[in-house]
Symmetry: C2
Subunit: 329 residues, 2 copies
């Protein structure tokens, strides 16, 4: 399913990150970065909710608008029952749609919002995606205090929130089209191999996007997945070629961009719903404004993992959603 849009623009964004992202190479591009993991709250879950509120406030501040001007707030995160989003939505009091597609949540939200803007059903939409390293590790693996070792194929969940303001005003970055993902399960059961789990889902979505839009991969100045990690990235390139005969020349993955993999202890890179939109709305949008990139295909990839199903020895399904982004001339 590929949608084409004529009147959908990301006019403004808000990005807030935690301490590890602050030490990373993109820190200067984020709106705000924190030195600790609590942000004045008492728990990591409440901290993540606070991050969302901050990123929304920053976005609204740049727009010189307030929350009552907004028609819709779409948000999702990794926590059980997406509580970080729910509690932020409670503070914001904007009509709310809670969504979940793991680390593909950011683009899932952009697509739902873009479709409503394009049809003139709403005019002002905030799309949020967030994650918190310590909250996610505690929930999906072990509390970080345990200091358990991990294989290098694993990723480091990003702490941060990325918010996009979507509207019909021709300004900023245009959402030109979008392709919805299907759930793909290749039978992988290892929760430390998320890159391998997600690469085939990314490949399926990229292939269908190019097919539906009758484009070559080189149409895009950059195809950007997030987050396959340094291992999954290589798998995708191989898989696209062997399975679909498509060579990805202008390709990168956000996992290895938000951190310095040589210097920081983040395994094969960043992950979490926040990672892809954090990199995109900060550094990539900066490159687009400078006209160094004009057309970018952002492909957010999500491993639909659950500890319950991993413990039941089931394989891990994955999904990827794509949006085609163009700089407004």
């Amino acid at each position: 399913m590929t949608f084409r849009y004529k009147n959908v623009y990301i006019n403004e964004t808000g990005t807030v990150v935690g301490p590890e992202e602050k030490k990373g190479p993109l820190n200067n591009y984020f709106d705000k970065s924190h030195d600790d993991f609590y942000f004045g709250t008492k728990t990591w879950e409440q901290a993540e909710s606070k991050l969302i509120e901050e990123a929304v406030d920053i976005t609204l501040g740049k727009l010189e608008k307030n929350r009552f001007d907004m028609d819709l707030f779409i948000s999702g995160d990794l926590l059980n029952q997406i509580v970080a989003s729910n509690y932020a939505a409670s503070t914001l009091n904007i009509p709310y749609l809670g969504i979940y597609n793991a680390c593909a949540t950011s683009v899932e939200g952009l697509i739902i919002g873009a479709n409503m803007i394009e049809a003139n059903q709403i005019k002002h939409c905030l799309c949020s995606a967030s994650s918190h390293n310590n909250a996610a590790e505690k929930q999906f693996r072990y509390p970080v205090e345990y200091g358990g070792p991990k294989p290098k194929t694993t990723t480091f969940t990003t702490t941060g929130t990325a918010v996009a303001y979507l509207t019909y005003n021709k300004k900023g970055v245009k959402i030109e089209s979008a392709t919805l993902g299907r759930v793909i399960d290749m039978g992988i059961k290892d929760a430390y191999e998320m890159g391998a789990v997600m690469a085939p889902a990314a490949a399926d979505t990229i292939f269908r996007h190019l097919q539906n839009t009758k484009r070559e991969a080189d149409y895009y100045d950059l195809i950007l997945t997030g987050d396959l990690g340094s291992v999954g990235k290589k798998i995708l390139v191989d898989y696209m070629y062997t399975e679909y005969g498509i060579e990805l020349h202008h390709y990168d993955d956000t996992a290895a961009m938000i951190f310095d993999l040589e210097r920081q202890s983040v395994y094969s890179g960043g992950s979490g719903p926040a990672c892809a939109p954090l990199v995109t709305y900060s550094y990539i949008f900066h490159q687009m404004r400078k006209k160094k990139l004009r057309r970018v295909l952002l492909v957010a990839t999500g491993a639909l993992m659950s500890t319950t199903m991993v413990n039941q020895k089931l394989s891990i399904p994955a999904i990827a959603h794509a949006v085609s982004l163009e700089v407004v001339e």
Copy 2:
């Protein structure tokens, strides 16, 4: 935010339930009911996923269509990371949006799908909502085998899946308009008082719906919430009158309809994302086809509860989404 639709119809539905619902007063109206909680699978979570697949198959069977004819599958459930939906989506292989608004998920899905159908962005959409009593009890409270006593204000999570097929063909039940909910938190911290948690959210949505559409409550032959339970239902009626001056004359709640509260041990009634759409797509649609009801406002209410946040002594936020349903003459 209220949307008006001219071309969105629920042409067909599929409803599958578990053993307790089978013993209830509406069993004859469901497409399929089971005698056990496993449905041929080994775990409750996999059983819930199986229920979704069954309800989709039943819906497609009635339509004489197959899954490849579908443009979009929207689904959500109560399990962490909405795994029942994810694994069903993996089997179905239809482009997928995972959503979560607790027991308001069913109408959240209808609204997202209806907006896309109305704008002619998609033509064939399946919306699913499900829950499984044992899987939910294990996750949110205690495994049912513990046999822990509960206060009468609590509800009994429905086991079942309700699927609606949305399209532009004028047949079945029309979705005439919809109002998106905002998150409301009245400061209640008792996870056994979900009716009280959700009633103000339902009231806010009903009030805004009537205001935006310039209608009186009596415009509707029935305003149907799901699921406030027998306790929350009384709270809503009182609250609507004292807070907004609105008397609800033609009002009911699905919690007390799916079970016989006198005969079945279900506390103040059914709950879970499946309950409201199960009652609506079966008994209520039957009444609509018989022209005993022509206009129904379905208000799905969700308590955005998480054990994590309840353990952190936070209050429980709630949301309610509404759709106006009309029988096609």
